[in-house]
Symmetry: C2
Amino acid sequence: MSSEQLYDQIRQKNSFLCIGLDTEISKLPAHLIHAEYPLFEFNKKIIDSTYDLAVAYKPNVAFYESLGAAGWLQLEKTVNYIRNNYPDVLVIADAKRGDIGNTSKKYAETFFKQLDCDAVTVAPYMGSDSVMPFLEYPGKWVILLALTSNQGASDFQFHGSSVQKPLFEAVLYKSLEWGTPGNMMYVIGATRASMLVKVREIVPDHFLLIPGVGAQGGDLADVVKYGMNKRCGLLVNSSRAIIYADSSVRYAESARQKAAEMQAQMAGLMKQTIPNS
Amino acid sequence: MSSEQLYDQIRQKNSFLCIGLDTEISKLPAHLIHAEYPLFEFNKKIIDSTYDLAVAYKPNVAFYESLGAAGWLQLEKTVNYIRNNYPDVLVIADAKRGDIGNTSKKYAETFFKQLDCDAVTVAPYMGSDSVMPFLEYPGKWVILLALTSNQGASDFQFHGSSVQKPLFEAVLYKSLEWGTPGNMMYVIGATRASMLVKVREIVPDHFLLIPGVGAQGGDLADVVKYGMNKRCGLLVNSSRAIIYADSSVRYAESARQKAAEMQAQMAGLMKQTIPNS
């Protein structure tokens, strides 16, 4: 998917919502536990009830992988279901992979060939040859971890900041040599919205994937104020607040309601910020 | 497995060899391609012919995952085969995972419960809560990326070094607050053997997993000189040089021969360095 196609979808839906499919067997409504493919059945109804409100879905691979081969099969079914039914929606494998060149090449095959995802999250620690193999697929995206929303983010992502640029800025600068606003995005945690000013100085045109709005304390208005660019440039993720809004048989309707609340807020903020969107 | 059990095995076998099972479908001997579980069949013969020379096996998850659910099944079969037949051998999932706390918890379940591995490689970029969930399993190990052997390692792992400690040293220091020599090891690339002096100042007692000897240019004698401690403290990995030594039906015998050459070299170096081992 090109950035133009993504922006078209954002304008059509008046939304930059990404729904995180962190689908955990222990949190599923009771009636699904004994289904043949419980994670997939759960996801299918979430997707069917929210696809007109969200521009991206982001299954987190850990939740599938923890069930072994059976989990991978359900991840594959989920990706295929979105592909076949809602082909305009961006599918992000939240995998945070990264290894030496010949190994990252296999991970790129995993997410772009074995699974037909549009994007994969990649960890930068191992540098250029751990990222480049993911960029060899036209129309696919690397979403590089820069500044994350978790507590441990401050352990290393600000390393060096007392006298030179902090590590997360070094990651942004260096990666400009690797990718473009057409094939690379960045993870920037919403719990640090004020940092978006600095981020936008370095990468004004790239899309940013923003986790941490809601449950983790980030504020959507602040994210838009500091992070939105003239082609939106934001994908704001919400996982648990949407998919686990309700643990009854009505979980999909409740998920839709939560997603609709976020979409309405997003539509209002976009209208203020990009008047011609 | 405790560090005592690992060191006992090292002394018994006179070896600190780890064999990397980077098993790639396109590199298998022709007669295996049409087997029901080709990666597993290949691994089984490699393991059977080298288990007395190696103290650890390290399947790299990317190579299995790239085949989807079928690949995961073969990874599971490989781990179970080692567990059931050679229970004294350390099994390392080379996965380089790391995510926010509740997600790393699922990855820990993947490698320590769904698969019964002894150790998993973890990427440090996201900090404490991305690593801690892996340390909650008694007898299991985190192998944290510190200084890797690939070309891109210099992009970020030395960040900050002009005026303060480089990032990889910050990772070593910080992680001393998280784990102990009994549940944490570090990846230190052999292509940077002279750096081992600095590494050993910070983590004198930890085991180090050393990739990059052989094909990637690292020298085993240098690794031992700068990195061995009084309880060995080293696991030196070789993958392709052993498992792809020969692409004929005799691949397992050739793998044994390569592994035996490395083991003999290791036995000699250990005798010089730890006289009472």
